[in-house]
């Protein structure tokens, strides 16, 4: 095997524990790629003193100047920031209101399991597995329904593309932004969780607010 240029000298090639002394350091020089770091000249004594006292006092001046203002801290979670109506929070899946089936209280699901939301999702966090509706087991209005519908909210970037992609307005972005949890897997929202009536815990911003 021809020894490559820039490798160690002599027969030490490949041997573990080659000491630095035997390394041909020049061979490792990166050459023209090195750019010297540009530094400003070190400040002189006058400049240092100016910085230490005058600039510090100027900063403190700004701080004390705000003392009389009221605090802007929001006392979360006792107090919640209201959101705009088009705020994109946690998703909701919807049902038709007028088609209760087989004695069930709720109507048919709007989602037909077409996976278009999953295709649109840039974070790839929606997983849909569809199945076929039968007359005995009808879940949605079309031929197919979503047997599994999951959104991994720890990955979601709340872009709202899924809402735009859905041909049946089955999925919309809600207002809920309180999505922390102790376990990552609990942030994978299943179809049941997304269909359930969400807690109305996020205040909506009023007009002009």
């Amino acid at each position: 095997m021809a020894s490559p240029p820039n490798s160690e000298d002599g027969g030490a090639a490949g041997a573990p524990g080659t000491s630095a002394a035997t390394l041909n350091v020049a061979a490792w020089s990166p050459g023209d790629d090195v750019i010297e770091v540009q530094r400003t000249p070190a400040p002189g004594p006058t400049r240092s003193t100016w910085r230490t006292f005058v600039e510090t006092l100027r900063g403190l001046g700004t701080t004390f100047g705000r003392f009389h203002e009221t605090p802007v801290t929001v006392q979360y979670p006792e107090e919640k920031t209201p959101v705009y109506p088009r705020f994109r929070g946690r998703h909701k899946l919807h049902r038709f209101e007028d088609t209760p089936q087989n004695g069930a209280q709720a109507g048919l699901e709007k989602c037909v399991g077409c996976s278009l939301c999953a295709a649109a999702c840039p974070a790839d966090c929606i997983r849909v597995v569809a199945a076929e509706n039968t007359p005995e087991h009808r879940v949605s209005a079309g031929e197919r329904y979503a047997e599994i519908y999951e959104i991994n909210l720890s990955r979601c970037i709340f872009c709202g593309y899924c809402e735009v992609a859905c041909p049946f307005d089955a999925i919309t972005m809600g207002h809920d932004y309180e999505l922390s949890d102790y376990d990552r897997t609990d942030l994978i929202f299943t179809k049941e969780m997304l269909l359930a009536e969400p807690l109305e815990r996020t205040p909506l911003r009023n007009e002009g607010e």
């Binding site: 037909v112 077409c114 999953a118 295709a119 569809a130 079309g142 031929e143």
Partner: protein, 779 residues
């Protein structure tokens, strides 16, 4: 028959000069210049274009009206426009018309995302529809067959499915009924469309009108990955693409290979993947304990198997069948021969062909390719029923007859489905294939064949007619050498008449000059999917890898093993993908043999009767998309299986299991990867020498076309003896079609094609009992 040749011409398309072979259709020629002409009904695989959809309209200088690009052959100097205003307006109008009655239910349609109608509407459509009247409606979806659902509203009447049924599979079941906008695809009288190749129409349909009931709604194109593989459920070894989602096979599509499958699949290949993911599948090792098979750890199963085999030593035997790869075959052979010192090993259903004859039959010059079936002047189908043995060849034979006027002759013991395209059908007595071949060879040599024909139960003048057909007439001779392909089944060399059959074939080949004619030859359909590969890997009682000589004496063949086990001369048997009660002739003998064997080690994926009643150790077998290994097509094409889906449960690579057992038996293999196992195989078989996985690639390579092919030291075959071949009727009675397989039995939508419904309930119940989840955790 000469393959079509054509000269190259130059034409202009959208202002670009493009060279293309003369007389290709404009649609194809345009592609050579990177111009896409949208099509719906055009599909070259279906034969002549019909021009049904009008989507491919183009403007050709000098012709006043727009022309269909799919049915206009390109000529020198043609000037074509595909983007002029006239063409654009016409294309938009066609799309608008097609969508008039289209339900546009893409979100619930299974084709959505991979739908040519969506793509073409997006690319060439006008974007709006002016149609506000009610659309045509049908009940939907309807069951066209247990495998296929039809949605007539979505149908754009492209005729593809009907043409397939009428002109490719020639089952004539699908028709278009009614007229005009009311036309719809149907079967006569609403009968279900049940045919061996029906699944192909799902892949052909350019819209979501025909969908697979097994795949319906399982996934979207963006949820899936496609993995190339080779279907090893029958010897035809069609190239397939497995659709994978969540590490499971969801669908199998054709991966067109003109030298193997021509782009079609049979329904077994297309739908039997379901059996890989059923609860009845064995996914962990089982060991018989107190009379019952119980799930155990791998360690325990390997211990039991290796102890049992070691106890038997030279009294062990092995039988390989099914989807066994060549590597697994080789490792089994080495385990038995070198590890245990036993020569008893077989991968044939019955009978043994002596090594010299086997080599002579495998001679590269005698070997026909699959495409030769299509272009030969005459094809003789001898003692095989392609639709039951290697279905895809049935379509190839029909194509040859229909498009190239190949003369087809069928010699078989029973009725054949090829009777209609065949020029001549000859019958002989069941099991008398070898005797018939002897009679035919005599007739071809111009000898007196009447007595020989009578021995074979055939009529002498029919044999004479067949020999005339194969020899060809004077006028044929004027067109160059007469190409004849003989497609023969392994049954011809079954039982005691194995050598007679082989000799008769060689003398037929000799009389017809097959070895000297390019495009002529013999093509065998082995009984097992990788039959050829296993034999070449040395899974034979009388030959080592590459039909090499054995160091010691020859062992027993499959029937001999059964007899030996029953008589107590052998004590253990290793069954690789083989349930002898099902896969081998003489069920009764095997029943006794397995009952008296002290150790039965089996690789099985389902608990069929032989396994569940007799196996002592069961290793879970891999399905073909899980395997890594080499298989060999009947025409010598070495193909490669690469893992496409994950192993369910505790399934392991079978070559690993065999290597482990071989090492426990004292062999030094040190195989660490499937590639290393392949290397071992290629180094062991002389005529595979130097093969690499890169060379095999995704399309395979025929070893006969490589330099190493000369390594098959051709032995001069003994002179053909007189035809004393006896009819072995038992063998014919035990004839088994490829639909009689656990893959069919355990696939929910395919099970209606399983020929033994009475076995089904038993097998299901036994599997449910044994493989119930409680039991699995209990041990």
């Amino acid at each position: 028959m000469p393959r079509p040749e054509s000269k190259t011409i130059t034409f202009t398309i959208d202002g670009r000069e493009v060279s293309a072979p003369e007389n290709t259709m404009l649609v194809d020629a345009a592609k050579l210049g990177d111009v896409e002409i949208p099509v719906f009904c055009y599909e070259p695989k279906l034969g002549q274009p019909v021009g049904a959809c009008r989507m491919c309209l183009v403007e050709i200088e000098g012709i006043p009206k727009l022309q269909t690009g799919c049915s206009t052959p390109v000529k020198d100097g043609m000037v074509v426009y595909t983007q002029s205003d006239r063409v654009t307006i016409a294309q938009q109008a066609v799309v608008e018309f097609l969508l008039i009655n289209h339900p546009l239910d893409c979100p619930v349609c299974d084709k959505g995302g991979e739908c040519p109608l969506q793509d073409i509407t997006f690319g060439w459509g006008g974007g709006i529809s002016r149609f506000v009247e009610p659309k045509r409606h049908f009940v939907k979806p309807l069951e066209l067959s247990p495998l296929i659902a039809i949605d007539r509203e979505r149908c754009i009447l492209c005729y593809r499915c009907v043409r397939f049924s009428q002109e490719i599979s020639e089952d004539y079941q699908l028709v278009l009924l009614d007229r005009g906008a009311h036309s719809y695809v149907a079967t006569f009288d609403g009968h279900p469309y049940v045919a061996p190749f029906s699944g192909n129409i799902v892949e052909l349909c350019p819209v979501g009108a025909l969908t697979s009931r097994a795949y319906r709604f399982r996934a979207r194109p963006w949820d899936i990955e496609s993995a190339g593989s080779v279907c090893t459920l029958c010897p035809a070894q069609c190239n397939v693409a497995v659709t994978v989602r969540d590490e499971r096979a969801l669908r199998v599509l054709a991966r067109e290979h003109p030298e193997v499958d021509d782009g079609w699949l049979c329904d077994k290949g297309r739908f039997a993947y379901q059996s890989f993911h059923v609860p009845e599948r064995i996914t962990q090792p089982l060991v018989r304990d107190g009379g019952f098979l119980r799930p155990v750890s791998w360690e325990r199963a390997l211990d039991e198997a290796s102890a049992g085999l070691r106890r038997a030593g030279a009294r062990a035997a092995g039988v390989a069948a099914g989807t066994t790869t060549s590597e697994e075959g080789l490792l089994l052979a080495r385990l038995l021969r070198e590890g245990l010192g036993s020569p008893h090993l077989d991968a044939r259903r019955s009978g043994t062909v002596s090594t010299g004859l086997a080599r002579a039959l495998a001679a590269p010059a005698l070997q026909a390719r699959v495409s030769d079936l299509e272009f030969a002047h005459a094809v003789l189908v001898l003692d095989t029923e392609p639709v039951d043995d290697a279905p895809i060849l049935d379509l190839r034979l029909r194509k040859g007859v229909r498009r190239h006027r190949t003369k087809l002759a069928v010699a078989s013991p029973g009725a054949t489905t090829l009777a209609e395209p065949a020029t001549l059908c000859v019958r002989f007595a069941p099991g008398a294939g070898a005797a018939f071949a002897v009679a035919l060879a005599a007739a071809l040599r111009g000898e007196d064949h009447a007595a020989l024909a009578r021995d074979a139960g055939a009529e002498a003048d029919q044999v004479a007619a067949l020999s005339d057909l194969l020899r060809g007439s004077e006028s044929d001779e004027a067109q160059g050498p007469h190409e004849v392909v003989i497609l023969w089944g392994e049954r011809l060399t079954a039982g005691d008449s194995a050598d007679h059959g082989a000799q008769a074939l060689l003398s037929l080949a000799d009389a017809l000059g097959l070895a000297d004619t390019d495009g002529a030859g013999l093509l065998e359909i082995p009984a097992h999917a990788n039959g050829r590969g296993l034999r070449e890997a040395g899974v034979l009682p009388n030959a080592g890898p590459g039909y090499g000589e054995l160091a010691g004496a020859a062992g027993r063949d499959a029937a001999g093993i059964a007899a030996g086990l029953a008589a107590g001369e052998l004590s253990a048997v290793y069954l690789l993908h083989c349930d002898p009660l099902r896969d081998l002739p003489d069920r009764q003998a095997w029943g006794e043999a397995l009952a008296s064997a002290s150790t039965v080690v089996a690789h099985a994926s389902h608990l069929t009767q032989g396994i569940r009643e007799h196996a002592d150790v069961v290793f879970p077998a891999e399905a073909y998309p899980e395997k890594e290994g080499t298989v060999v097509h009947p025409d010598g094409r070495v193909q490669r299986l690469r893992p496409a889906i994950a192993h369910p449960g505790e399934v392991r690579h079978e070559w690993r299991v065999l290597a482990e057992l071989a090492e426990r038996a004292g062999l030094e293999l040190t195989l660490h990867s499937g590639a290393a196992a392949a290397e071992l195989l290629y180094a062991s078989v002389p005529f595979y020498a130097g093969l690499t996985l890169d060379e095999i690639g995704g399309r395979g390579v025929r070893w006969q076309e490589r330099a190493a092919a000369t390594e098959l030291g051709a032995a001069a075959p003994p002179a053909p003896g007189p035809g004393a071949a006896s009819a072995s009727a038992g063998e014919a009675a035990a004839y088994r079609s490829l639909w009689d397989a656990p893959e069919v039995e355990f696939s929910p939508t395919l099970e209606f094609l399983f020929p033994h419904p009475e076995l089904l309930a038993d097998d299901r119940a036994a599997s449910a009992e044994l493989l119930a989840p409680e039991l699995e955790t209990a041990s």
